[in-house]
Amino acid sequence: MLAEDKKRMAHTAVVTRVLEGDGRASRAGRRAAFDNAGLAEPLRTLIDKVARQPTRVTNEDVAAVKASGVSEDQIFELVVCAAIGQATRQYETALEALAEAMTGKKRSEHASEDPQ
């Protein structure tokens, strides 16, 4: 197996585990945290900070989510999903850009044979 394929597979295994495996938070909740979409306050603020500005997360953000009835184990899972989700979107966008750069090269080589 190519080394790059092994890396992609190991990454997919992480995503599949946190989204589809057993957990204390619901699968729908973990998916929403991963997507950073469709969450209600105060969880929405915490998850959005994890995804977009993780250095801005405060003790109060976490305390507010706990006070809303979410357990520490559920917060652990949802924060993990949010971090993996944002990094995965970056990874996939970049791999698509790379694929486009590779095929785009081929397209421009054939451009003279295929006038508009």
Binding site: L2, A3, E4, K6, K7, R8, A10, H11, A13, V14, R17, V18, G21, G23, L46, K49, V50, A51, P54, T55, V57, N59, V62, E72, D73, I75, F76, E77, V79, V80, A82, A83, I84, Q86, A87, T88, R89, Q90, Y91, T93, A94, L95, A97, L98, E100, A101, M102, G104, K105
Partner: protein, 193 residues
């Protein structure tokens, strides 16, 4: 750390292991290790596997190059724990502390190979703006970086954009230089598994 379970929610076996690590390294167990030992079936075990592949799996990039990418991505994310850990590890892997600090303080003037510089530029944009386009990739390819090398760098970038977020969200304790030095030795000897 902000969640009590990440400070004290460990079973007997893991507590013994932490005591052993503490005795051998003479440093407190780093929060990065605690995170991957907490309910490892959920996150730690599969993430260690991915990080190991990205950082130590076969690649045209050296271990030093990949540790530098990890430090650089962490710098873009302003993640103090991971900057400290991977700056120390990259410096130790290269046996060149000046090179690492030059890249972290100014990528454009640092004395490094152009393929590495072009790759780091792309990782900087991806980490800051969450996206790159085909033109960004063409610039990296034009600098002489292979498709496989770009894929390898993206795996490192993905692993550290995950870890950096968790370090700051969970509030990792940032230790002093001695602890990062001990951590660097461990990561170069044992890797991420």
């Amino acid at each position: 750390m902000r969640l009590k379970i990440l400070n004290s929610g460990y079973g007997f076996g893991t507590k013994v292991l932490f005591a052993f690590i503490h005795a051998v390294s003479r440093q407190p167990v780093p929060d990065a290790a605690k995170l991957v030992f907490y309910r490892p079936d959920f996150y730690g075990a599969p993430m260690k596997e991915f990080t190991q592949e990205a950082m130590r799996g076969p690649s045209a990039w050296s271990v030093g190059d990949r540790e530098l990418m990890a430090a650089f991505v962490s710098k873009m994310n302003a993640c103090a724990f991971c900057i400290g850990a991977h700056t120390a590890t990259a410096a130790r892997a290269y046996q060149d502390e000046a090179k690492v600090s030059a890249v972290l303080s100014d990528l454009e003037t640092a004395s490094i190979e152009e393929p590495l510089r072009a790759t780091l530029r792309m990782l900087r944009k991806l980490t800051r703006e969450h996206a790159v386009n085909a033109d960004d990739m063409r610039a990296v390819l034009a600098a002489g970086v292979s498709r496989e090398q770009i894929e390898d760098a993206l795996a490192v970038c993905s692993a550290f954009n995950t870890t950096d977020r968790l370090a700051d969200a969970f509030g990792f304790f940032v230790p002093g230089p001695k602890a990062f030095e001990a951590g660097a030795k461990f990561l170069l000897r044992r890797g991420y598994r």
